[in-house]
Structure formats: structure tokens, C-alpha cells
Subunit: 325 residues, 2 copies
Amino acid sequence: MKILNRSEIVSLLPQVELVEQLEAGFVQYSRGQSVVPPVGELLFDEPPGDVHIKYGYIAGDDFYVIKIASGFYENPRLGLSSSDGLMLLFSANTGELRAILLDQGLLTDVRTAVAGAIAAKYLAPKPIRKIGIVGTGIQARMQLQYLAPVTDCRDVLVWGRNPQHVADYQSAMARQGFIVNPTASASRLLEECNLIVTTTPSRAPVLECSGELPNGLHITAVGADSPYKRELGPGIVRRADLVVADSISQCLERGEIHHAVSEGILKQDDIRELGSVISGDSPGRETDAQVSIADLTGVAVQDIQIAKAIYLQSVRDGAPAGRRL
Amino acid sequence: MKILNRSEIVSLLPQVELVEQLEAGFVQYSRGQSVVPPVGELLFDEPPGDVHIKYGYIAGDDFYVIKIASGFYENPRLGLSSSDGLMLLFSANTGELRAILLDQGLLTDVRTAVAGAIAAKYLAPKPIRKIGIVGTGIQARMQLQYLAPVTDCRDVLVWGRNPQHVADYQSAMARQGFIVNPTASASRLLEECNLIVTTTPSRAPVLECSGELPNGLHITAVGADSPYKRELGPGIVRRADLVVADSISQCLERGEIHHAVSEGILKQDDIRELGSVISGDSPGRETDAQVSIADLTGVAVQDIQIAKAIYLQSVRDGAPAGRRL
């Protein structure tokens, strides 16, 4: 049994083909080749926090994976990250524990960012002229980082509530080769960018349009992963030609699609699933003029694929993992 | 963060007051002071296996606990135990991982056996004259072991399918001071014993009666923990004066009570909960002539309490835990 700590996982990450692994996972999920039960959830009041347990396996695979991810939103006052977590990888043949990945939530951040890159790869209009980012936190950074291999575009417009965080974001992203301009008006992102990624835990729409939207736009919403969170206003969803969910069943209960369907703006039959778009089983974007939305709430199959990839790479490496706790 | 392996846990076990801790947990559960979501479940076909995820916390506690337990029934062919698992203990204030208990299913076996002892303590007629055990596996052994502090009775009648396993059981239990006689007829247990514990994963009743049952009998059923498992026939449940569940909501979906309610033999309103009997909120046994049944399907609150007890003892010990993986 291997125990990998966060720094060991960080050193393994560049060696694994995450886009390929996650695409395969999404396709197997959409083809019904995975077993992914409903998310387990534990809520706390004082202090406020939530814990999600995502778990499952892909049929015929050697492993099953359980991921525990927590958010305790008052942690920053104590100098701690609000998000934490770990992944457990077991033999699907004997139930034996094979690996504990003490990633403290890193792999959740990474697989979410990789899913954003995959959504852009399949759904964004070509070429991507300018990237809009809503939010300035860890996911706002990682989305850009993982978009870099998918597009040559380095021109970024960012919107955030806190000017200091926006300035920090600009300089951090500049070090990775992005030219980031801030805007005080989120609606400017809709006017200037043709790829937008929303990354906030907002409970009220951050992006909204009252009627018109420019042609040729893709929005990936990764912030809303629970029933009460929401980043996109109803006008945006109403205008979309194409709405893609990472998991239709999960997005009917959480995230942007959940709100749009319950408001009657979107019909369940009109939602496509990311894995089906990747495989070609469902059509994706048909013209560069279309407006598309990808709603990513995070599916266990992503956790399964990233945990497997890291574990198998550590085995190939014969890494010193498990000895340096 | 502490990592305790199985042998470290074994050495801590005698130092903790498990009966007291589990009784407190059952009472808090029955009084609605715990948060215990439905059990997460993952099923496997080839080879057959099942994984259960039990998790939750007690209101106001410093910890939440997640327990993963697996059963892969072809493991013995590979020289492996069919059951495996681990427990994770986290801060309920920050989400930080505090301990990984690599017990490989031991603590599940122990807390199940302790719950059996608690059921006998509150529900068995006095005095216990002879103990009947159905099955010869690990739980059949541990139930007797944990009954020892609750009763002076050492006279045991055992029924098992495999004569070699029965003989092994007799000698193993003799080493712990029990005088064990075997019987080829399970119904003899009903005639001779006034405390019976059933411990098999049977899918068809092992104990049944066609009409009469002797007065003064308590049966604890711990084997059936899933919807399809069952050890007690309908005649037994029909004759019982008192039926107690570890969790009413869970027993309506799994175990003996689930079958009896769906067959119309037992009314939901007539079921009492173990924590309420312990606290006195519900009446327990009223006369030594009554026939009572305790259906124990295993509740997360037991896992919470035993994981906390082991962790806190390891902290008090300043044990070398976590250094000797």
C-alpha cells in the first residue's frame, strides 16, 4: 500500500496524460460503463462546512476510488485552506487498499481544471480570441494554466470582487505568460471574450444578459457544484444554442442546469453530456457563431481517472512514495 | 495526522471503554443528536463484492468519521480475508484529516460484537442459562468474547454448516473459557438457550419455529446487513413480544425487520430503537418470560464512537503510532 503526500503528487502530475485520461473517463461515464452512485454529503453548521464523498469505478477496471473533499469556509481565518481532502484507491478485485493520496484537495482542483480545458477543446469557437475569467481564486488560476496547452490565446480579461485579489491574479498569471487585464464590469467579458470560465462559489448570477449576446461564445461554469450555487443568469442559458453537462443526472440536481430546468428555461432533453460530445455520440458545436455552455459539477469518474493515473505513475516510477510521510 | 495500523489498534483496544462509548452513541443517535446520512454502497459482479461507506458525526463533537468496509467473497481462495476496510477521522471544525485507522475491518467486527453485548445487557432474560451461537466465523467468536464481561454464563451451544469449522470454533472458544457443544439441528438452540446470537450471511432463514417458542428468550441477529440477507424465519418474528432495531430507518431497508415488515408480520410502530431502550426513553424487556429480538445492521454512530475512542486513546498514550507503518 502506497501513501503519497501532496508534494509527491505534485511531482508526479506533469508525468501523466490527464486530458487523455479524463476524456476516456467522460466517454465511459456517458456510455454507461461506469458505476458512480449519488454523491454522499455531510453538512456542518458551526462552523459552516460541507463534505462530499464521490466514489465509483469503471467496468472492468482494476481499481475503485473514493474521494473525500471538504470545504470549511472559515478556515482562512485560522490560516488554513478552506478546501481539503484525500483520495483512496482500492483493488476492485479484492477490496484491498492500494493507495492513499493525501492531496489535500489538489487533485480535485486539477481534475476540475482539466475538465475545463476539455470543455474548451471540444466546445469553444475557433480561434479563441480572448479568455474571460470570473473569479480570482485557485480555480481561476488553474483553469488558465490547464487551458494553455489547448489554445495559443494568452489574452485574458478578469473580473473579481476584491481589487487586491485581482492584482495578485494578474501578476501570478503574468508569470505563466498570460496578459491579464481587469474589468470592474462582468458584462464586459460577454462583449469581448469568446471563451469564458466562471469559477466562483456565488449564490446569485455573476454573468447575466438582458437580451443580446454576441455570436460565437463558449462559457464553462465550474463554480456551482451544489443546489444553491449559481453563476449564470437565466438570460444567458435562454440564449445558449448548446448546453452540455458533465453528468446530466447530477446537473439536474446541482449547478446551473438545475436552476435553468427548474425555471423552465431549459428542457432536460436538450442537454447533452460531455462524454457523448467527446466520443461523437452527440453533436457538439456546429458553427463558430453558436453560444454554448458547459456546466461542470464534477463527476466521480474524474476522480477515478486522476487517482488511477497518479497511482500507476508512482508505481512506474518506483517512486519513494510511502516512505517519506 | 496519525496513521494507526492494525497491530497498533489491537494494542489500544483493551484500553478503551467500548460498551460505554457505544451506548452513548446509540442514545445520541436515537435522540436525533447525530448526523448519519444513508449508507453509500458500491457493488461488484466479477468477482462479487460489496463496499459500504458509513459516515457522520454527533452534534457538537470535534470529529466526523468515514468508514469504508468491503466484502469480497472469493478472497479466501487467494488466502485473503473476505472483509477489509479502514476508518478516517477528520476535524469537524476544519475538515482536516486527523487519523487513518488501517484496521482492515477489525473495528467493524469489534463494534458489531460490542453492540451484541449491549443488546444482551439490556434485553436478555436473567440469568442467561445457555448461549446459542449460529455460525462459526469471526463474528461468532467475537460475539462470545465481548459477551464475557456481560454474563457469567460460559455454556454454549453452536450450530454451523461445516463440521471442521464447528470443531475449530469449539477449541478456539474453549481457550477463552467457554464450554461449547455443537448441534446438527439449529432448532435445538431455540429449545435450550435463552440468549441466541445469529452471525451468518445467510439469504434464507437459519432459525425458524412453526408455532411454539419457549418463554424467556432473546435473539440478537447481526448477520443480515443487506436487503437480501436473512437469518430469522417469519414464525420467530411473529412470536416476539419485543423487536428492537439499532436504527429503525435502516432496518426498514436491511436485515430481519425489513423482511418482517414487508411480509406484514411486524408493524413499523411496534419497533423500538436500541438507543431509546438504553436511555429508558422506550421500555425494554418487561418480564423474563418475554421473547425479544434485536436486529443489528450496523450504524455509522458505532463507527464514529469506536474510531474516536481509539484515536483519543492513541493521543493520550502518545503512542508511537504513525511512525511504524
